[in-house]
Amino acid sequence: MAEAPAVEKKTQRPIVPFLKLPGVAGQKPYLMGSRCKQCGATYLGTRMACSRCFSTEGMDEVKLSDKGELHVFSIVHQSAPGVPTPYVAAIVDLPEGVSVRCNINGVGPDPKNLKFGMPVEMVTETVSTDREGNEVVAFSFRPA
């Protein structure tokens, strides 16, 4: 009797390195930042040295908050081939002093639906499948 083919377990991969997917039940995905040990400037992802104070004394890894405030936005109606439009492109400020470039989902793409400083929260979803069959996970923000 032939054995049933083993189902290959698909792996989830983040769309960018600073999105962390713990892959453990009860632990939510989060954004990773780095805080300068000398001046406290905080960056999204990693840096070799501090752009602000030029310290090379190292950075502390910081788990960034999943809640923030809408700084600014644009409603994108024309984009690169294959990108669905219209959508809300935005900059969100997080309480750690880090900003994030993202889509705002959960609201219609119209300026009247967006308020400067409005509270938003991060969500993640699978957005595509890569050449090796892995699920690619991205983050976006939506009104909190």
């Binding site: 769309i15 960018v16 400037a41 960056y43 999204l44 752009s51 602000r52 700084h71 600014v72 936005f73 644009s74 409603i75 994108v76 109606h77 024309q78 984009s79 690169a80 294959g82 990108v83 669905p84 439009t85 219209p86 959508y87 492109a89 935005a90 900059i91 400020d93 002093g97 880090v98 900003s99 994030v100 470039r101 993202c102 889509n103 300026p111 400067f116 957005v127 595509s128 499948t129 890569d130 050449r131 690619v136 991205a138 983050f139 976006s140």
Partner: protein, 381 residues
């Protein structure tokens, strides 16, 4: 540093030239500038060539292959939209330093209809492309958000941004070098399709082909060639310093402000001494921000400035008399040298129907996202 003069300028009408090569476009502009200066290639001791999309293809040397191979040093420059203006600065410093007496700066680009610029790379697998997934890195959204930040701070309206497009298109009707020479009304601009709110189609510069050139010479020799030397009073280049959101939200303001401070100090003038400005209106939103960045109005006053017509030809400080990038066009590598051509023509009184009367001091400003900011202050002597 010694005084340097621009003694010759030339450019071709911006547009689309699919039948020409980049060296042919640039060669035409270079020959026009040499003729304007009354010199030829054997007088040129160094050439700086700005071209972005063929930056690995020795464009400068290929231009000389079309107009005269004299064996001089050639510097090929790429610096995003500030490519041409950075080439001009190289040509300027080569003379200012005393190393050379006469140099040539050429800026060129052939973009065709290449569409939107920018966006994140996908690292070879489109599944990891972040464009439209993690916001947008395309220029229309980047400059849309920069405008929205001004709305947030000062209550600036989409209509005020749109007025920049109306003004610059109106100016371009009198510029034979402009890619478009068509007037558009405020309703036309506001009702055009949205590219990236608040910028509509007419609030975004077109892509295109073009070339421009300038001959620079030490001031002590300039009068041998021209009765109207134009002094380079400052030539400044900055990159962005650390700012709070810099790598996430490109900051087009801080490096322009830093450049303006340096330019005014070097030239020994203030913004009130400028008679005209050619500035980087890649999108209508950008022009409003730069009124404040260059200090021609106070913080939060730029919206009122466009409302009052202060930056139209005939107004207090005409901005983009050429039609600006919005209508004259923006072939990336050519833009920074073309801006110098425009200011030089005004200072010589040769700008035809768009002439800013009695212009004595002018400024040319460019920003290349990534970022680079150049400012040239030019003055009649």
């Amino acid at each position: 540093m010694r005084d340097v003069a621009v003694i010759g300028v030339g450019m071709i009408k911006f547009g689309r030239y699919p039948e020409k090569t980049v060296p042919e476009l640039a060669g035409q502009a270079a020959l026009l500038a040499l003729k304007d200066a009354g010199v030829d290639m054997k007088d040129i001791e160094l050439m700086a060539s700005g071209n972005l999309y063929q930056s690995n293809a020795m464009v400068g040397q290929r231009i000389l292959q079309t107009i005269g191979q004299t064996g001089i040093p050639v510097i090929n420059v790429a610096n995003a939209c500030a490519t041409g203006s950075t080439a001009f600065r190289e040509a300027y410093y080569s003379v200012a330093s005393g190393a050379y007496d006469m140099t040539l700066a050429v800026g060129s680009e052939q973009m065709g209809k290449m569409g939107l610029l920018g966006g994140g790379g996908a690292g070879g697998d489109r599944a990891y492309s972040t464009e439209g997934v993690l916001g947008s890195g395309l220029m229309p959204a980047v400059f849309g958000m920069a405008g929205v930040e001004h709305m947030r701070k000062y209550g600036t309206t989409q209509e005020q941004f749109a007025k920049v497009s109306v003004k610059n298109h109106k100016h371009s009707m009198h510029n034979p070098y402009s890619q478009y020479q068509t007037e558009v009304g405020l309703e036309d601009v506001l009702n055009a399709r949205v590219v990236s709110w608040p910028n509509t189609l007419y609030m975004c510069c077109p892509t295109g082909d073009g070339a421009a050139a300038a001959v620079l010479c030490s001031m002590d020799k300039a009068r041998q060639y021209t009765t109207k030397p134009i002094r380079v009073a400052a030539s400044v280049l900055t990159s962005d310093p650390w700012t709070q959101r810099d790598l996430i939200m490109p900051d087009i303001n801080t490096l322009t402000r830093n450049a303006a401070k340096q330019a005014y100090e070097t030239a020994g003038i203030g913004p009130e001494d400028l008679d005209l400005i050619e500035l980087h209106d890649c999108f209508a939103t950008a022009e409003i921000l730069h009124y404040e960045n260059l200090g021609i109005c106070g913080e939060g006053e730029a919206g009122r400035m466009i409302d009052e017509g202060a930056t139209s030809v005939g107004g207090k400080i005409p901005v983009n008399a050429s039609g600006g990038l919005l209508s004259k066009g923006h072939p990336l590598g050519a833009t920074g040298v073309a801006n110098v051509c425009e200011v030089v023509w005004h200072l010589r009184g040769e700008a035809g129907n768009r002439q800013v009367e009695g212009a004595k001091v002018g400024m040319a400003h460019v920003i290349g996202l990534g970022s680079a900011c150049t400012l040239q202050v030019l003055e009649k002597v």
